[in-house]
C-alpha cells in the first residue's frame, strides 16, 4: 500500500472536529485537540478555507464548516461567477475564430449554457444563455461528461438528433476516452445537420473541471472534408480554456 498523505489525514480530522463540536472553534482549540503546531493547523485551515470547506467568522476569528460542504455533490463554481471570470477570454476567442462561443456547466445531466458570445458577423442572433444542451451530442457536453469522475457511463437514453448522433453507450465511452486523450472534443453534425462544435475543459482549483468552452459554426468552416477539425481552431479553443483555468486557479491562491 502506498504511503498516506499526512496533511490530508489532518485535514479530515479538522473537518470531523468542526462537524462534531459546537460548530465554532478557535485555532488554538483545534491545534490543542489534534496535538498539532498552530502554524501547521493554520496552514491546513487556510487551504480548507480556499476550497470552501471551512469558513472563518470575521468578528471572532473562529472556524466552522464552510458553505460548500453540504453541496459537495454539485461541487461547482457559481455559474455567474464563471461567466464573469471568462468574459474577457470568450470575446477574443470569438474574434479570432469568427465563430460563436459558448460556455457550459453540468446541471441535472445536461449542459447549461452559462455564457454566449455572438458570431462576430452582426447577423441577427439570440442569446442562448440558460438553455440546456444534451451531453452526448455537443462538444461542450462531451467535455463535461468526459471529465465527470462518475465511472462507467450509466445506461442512459441517448436521444438521436441526426444520423451522426452517438447512439450506443459503447460508442460514447470510446468517444469520451478520445476526449480525455486529446484534451478537447469535437461534435460534427451530431446535433444539427450542417453545424459542428469544438470544446475544451475549464479547470478550477485542484484541476477540477468546472465547465467547458467551445466554438460553434458551419461544419465546413470548423472541419475539413473528413470531419476533422481545423487544428488552428482547436488551438484557439484550448488556449482560451487554459487562460480561463489560469484565471480561476490564480485567484484562489
Amino acid at each position: 500500500m502506498p504511503g498516506t498523505v499526512q496533511s490530508i489525514e489532518r485535514a479530515a480530522a479538522i473537518l470531523r472536529l468542526l462537524a462534531g463540536g459546537s460548530g465554532h472553534l478557535a485555532l488554538g482549540d483545534i491545534a490543542r485537540s489534534l496535538d498539532l503546531a498552530k502554524g501547521t493547523t493554520h496552514g491546513i485551515l487556510r487551504t480548507l478555507q480556499l476550497v470552501g470547506f471551512v469558513e472563518q467568522d470575521r468578528v471572532s476569528g473562529h472556524y466552522q464548516l464552510g458553505p460548500a460542504l453540504p453541496h459537495l455533490g454539485s461541487g461547482h463554481l457559481d455559474v455567474n461567477e464563471l461567466r464573469s471570470r471568462s468574459i474577457n477570454w470568450a470575446d477574443p476567442l470569438a474574434a479570432r475564430t469568427g465563430e460563436s462561443v459558448r460556455i457550459g456547466a453540468l446541471r441535472d445531466g445536461q449542459a447549461l449554457v452559462v455564457h454566449h458570445v455572438f458570431r462576430p458577423d452582426d447577423t441577427f442572433q439570440t442569446l442562448d444563455v440558460g438553455t440546456m444542451l444534451p451531453l452526448h451530442a455537443t462538444a461542450i457536453g462531451k467535455v463535461l461528461l468526459a471529465y465527470r469522475a462518475a465511472g462507467p457511463e450509466p445506461a442512459q437514453q441517448l436521444d438521436r438528433f441526426t444520423r451522426r448522433t452517438i447512439r450506443t453507450a459503447r460508442d460514447l465511452a470510446a468517444e469520451l476516452q478520445h476526449v480525455r486523450d486529446n484534451g478537447w472534443s469535437l461534435e460534427a453534425e451530431e446535433m444539427t445537420p450542417g453545424l459542428a462544435s469544438v470544446a475544451a475543459p475549464i479547470r478550477g482549483y485542484g484541476g477540477l473541471v468546472v465547465g467547458a468552452i467551445g466554438i460553434n459554426g458551419l461544419v465546413e468552416r470548423i472541419c475539413d472534408s473528413h470531419y476533422r477539425p481545423h487544428q488552428h481552431l482547436v488551438a484557439y479553443v484550448r488556449d482560451a480554456a487554459r487562460a480561463i483555468s489560469r484565471e480561476l486557479g490564480a485567484a484562489r491562491r
Partner: protein, 497 residues
C-alpha cells in the same frame, strides 16, 4: 510588409495601461500598473504624476514586448485619461509642483459654494456649459493658486504650467510640448465650448493666468512625435476616458449612446455638432473633434452608485461572497416582491441633484427574502439608467433607439435584460470589452491614416450580445411609478446643520 499596430495609453484613476491593437481593433497585448492613491485629509485624493509617468515609461516597452513588436511597427499612440484631475509642473525642470488633485477630491467644497454666488458665475457656467461643482478643474486651480501665492507669481511668468493628465503625458512624451485636447479642456470650466478656446472671462473669474495654460488642440490629429516611452512614434489622439469609450463604441452619429457600467456609471449621448444645454441635470461636453472638422458634442449623465451598490451588498451586508453571485441570488425569486432600493448614499445625482437625500429600502414585508433584495439592487441600476435616458431624450429631442453598453456589470445577464426591459430599447454589448483604450487607439489610428475613416472603424464593431425588451408595457409603467415614489422617499432626509 510588416504588420503595423496602434497603441493606447489608458491613464485611469487607479492604474495606467498600455494596450496594443491590430488593424481589426483586436487586443494584441496589455501591460498594466497600478499607482498609489494619496488621501492626506478627509475628502482629499491625490496622485503622484511623476510615478504615473514612470509607469508609462515602463509599460510602453512591456506592451510592445508582449505583442512581439518594435516601435517601428507602431503607427500611432492614442491617450485616454482620467478627467478633471489637476496638475501643476515646473516648465524648466519638468517636476510636478506637489501631487495632482484627483477628480474625486472635494477640498473645493466651500470654495465652490462661494463661487456659485460670485459675480460672473452665471456667465462662466454658460460659456463652459457646466454647473459650478468640485468635480471640475477650474475651482481646483483657483484653490491651488490662492493657497500658494508664490506659485501664482511664477505661473504668471509662465514658469509653472497647468495640465490635466493627457497634457502631462504629452509634455513628457514629446519632451516639452504643452497642449491639451478639447474634450479634456471642456471639463475645466475654463473653455468656451463654442469657440473651443480658453474663455477670458472664465480665466478672470478663477484668477488663472493665461500663461500657464496649454494650447487647446482637436482630440484627433497628430500632436507631435514622442521622444520618450515610444521614441519616434506619433501621438495621434487624446480624449477623456468617457469620451474615448463613446468613440470606441463607434457612437459617431447624433442619437447614438453608450453607458459604461462600473462602480458608478456614465451614459454619453452623441448630439452631433450641436451643443445641447440640459435643463434636466445633465452635463454638456465635447465628445471629440477631428482636426479640420467641427467638434461633436455629447450629453453626459453620471450615476454615482451602480456597481458600488453590489459591492455594498457583498461587503457590508455579506449576503453574497462575490459580486457575480448577486445574479444567482436574484434569480432565486421571480420579481422584486414589491421591494425597491434607492442608493442615494451621498445624495442623488442626475437628474435630481439633491445632496440632502439619503438611501432607502422601501416596500419591506415579511414576504421579502434576500433574493428580493438582490433583485432590488440590480433593478436600481436599471431605473437610474432609465431616469438619465429620459432626461437625455427630453433635452436632445432625440429618442434613444439602442443602448451600447460596456464595463464589468455587462457580465450580468439579468441586469442587462432588465435594462432593455425598462428602457424599452435593445441593449447591445460589443465584442471589444476595452472600449476606453480602443477609442483612444481608433482616434490615434484615424489621425495618421491607419484607418481610413469613421466608416472603416464601424466595420470593426461587432455585436457580442444583445438583449431585447420583453416587459409588458403596463408592468413597466407601474414599476417605474413605484421606483419614482421610492426616490421621493429619499428627499429631505438629512437636515441642514
Amino acid at each position: 510588409m510588416t504588420e503595423r499596430y496602434v497603441v493606447a495609453i489608458d491613464q485611469g484613476t487607479t492604474s495606467t495601461r498600455c494596450i496594443v491593437f491590430d488593424r481589426r481593433g483586436r487586443l494584441v497585448s496589455l501591460a498594466q500598473q497600478e499607482h498609489k492613491q494619496y488621501y492626506p485629509r478627509p475628502g482629499w485624493v491625490e496622485h503622484d504624476a511623476a510615478e504615473i509617468w514612470r509607469n508609462v515609461e515602463r509599460l510602453a516597452p512591456e506592451a510592445l514586448r508582449n505583442a512581439g513588436i518594435t516601435e517601428e511597427q507602431v503607427a500611432a499612440v492614442g491617450i485616454a485619461n482620467q478627467r478633471e484631475t489637476t496638475l501643476l509642473w515646473d516648465r524648466d525642470t519638468g517636476t510636478p509642483i506637489g501631487h495632482a488633485i484627483v477628480w474625486q477630491d472635494t477640498r473645493t467644497d466651500d470654495l465652490v459654494e462661494l463661487l456659485k454666488e460670485a459675480d460672473g458665475a452665471a456667465e462662466v457656467e454658460h460659456d463652459s456649459a457646466l454647473p459650478m461643482a468640485t468635480y471640475f478643474s477650474g475651482p481646483r486651480m483657483k484653490w491651488l493658486l490662492d493657497h500658494h501665492p508664490e506659485v501664482r507669481e511664477r505661473a504668471e511668468r509662465g514658469e509653472i504650467l497647468f495640465g490635466t493628465m493627457e497634457s502631462w503625458l504629452i509634455w513628457k512624451l514629446t519632451g516639452g510640448l504643452h497642449v491639451t485636447d478639447v474634450t479634456n479642456a471642456s471639463r475645466t470650466m475654463l473653455l468656451d465650448v463654442h469657440s473651443l478656446d480658453w474663455s477670458p472671462s472664465a480665466l478672470a473669474f478663477f484668477g488663472v493666468p493665461r500663461a500657464m495654460l496649454p494650447e487647446v488642440r482637436p482630440s484627433i490629429g497628430v500632436f507631435g512625435t514622442a521622444v520618450a516611452a515610444f521614441p519616434g512614434v506619433r501621438i495621434g489622439a487624446a480624449l477623456g476616458d468617457q469620451q474615448a469609450a463613446l468613440f470606441g463604441q463607434t457612437c459617431f452619429f447624433p442619437g447614438e449612446a453608450k453607458c459604461t457600467y462600473g462602480t458608478g456609471s456614465f451614459l454619453l449621448l452623441n448630439t452631433g455638432d450641436e451643443l445641447v444645454r440640459s435643463t434636466h441635470g445633465l452635463l454638456s461636453t465635447v465628445a471629440y473633434q477631428i482636426a479640420g472638422g467641427p467638434a461633436a458634442y455629447a450629453l453626459e449623465g453620471s450615476i454615482a452608485i451602480t456597481g458600488s451598490l453590489v459591492q455594498w451588498f457583498r461587503d457590508q451586508l455579506e449576503l453574497i461572497a462575490t459580486a457575480p453571485e448577486i445574479e444567482t441570488l436574484a434569480r432565486t425569486v421571480a420579481d422584486n416582491g414589491g421591494c425597491y432600493i434607492v442608493p442615494a448614499f451621498s445624495g442623488l445625482y442626475a437628474p435630481y441633484w439633491r445632496s440632502e437625500a439619503r438611501g432607502v429600502i422601501v416596500g419591506l414585508t415579511s414576504y421579502i427574502t434576500k433574493g428580493h433584495l438582490a433583485r432590488a439592487v440590480l433593478e436600481a441600476t436599471a431605473w437610474q439608467t432609465r431616469e438619465v435616458v429620459d432626461a437625455m431624450n427630453a433635452d436632445s429631442g432625440l429618442d434613444l433607439t439602442t443602448l451600447r453598453v460596456d464595463g464589468g456589470m455587462t457580465a450580468d445577464n439579468l441586469l442587462m435584460q432588465f435594462i432593455a426591459d425598462v428602457l424599452d430599447v435593445p441593449v447591445v454589448r460589443p465584442l471589444a470589452a476595452e472600449t476606453v483604450s480602443l477609442g483612444a487607439a481608433y482616434a490615434a489610428g484615424l489621425a495618421v491614416g491607419y484607418w481610413p475613416d469613421l466608416e472603416g472603424l464601424r466595420q470593426n464593431w461587432h455585436r457580442a450580445a444583445q438583449w431585447l425588451p420583453t416587459m409588458d408595457p403596463e408592468i413597466r409603467a407601474a414599476e417605474y411609478g413605484n421606483w419614482r415614489r421610492a426616490v421621493e422617499r429619499t428627499f429631505d432626509w438629512t437636515r441642514p446643520s
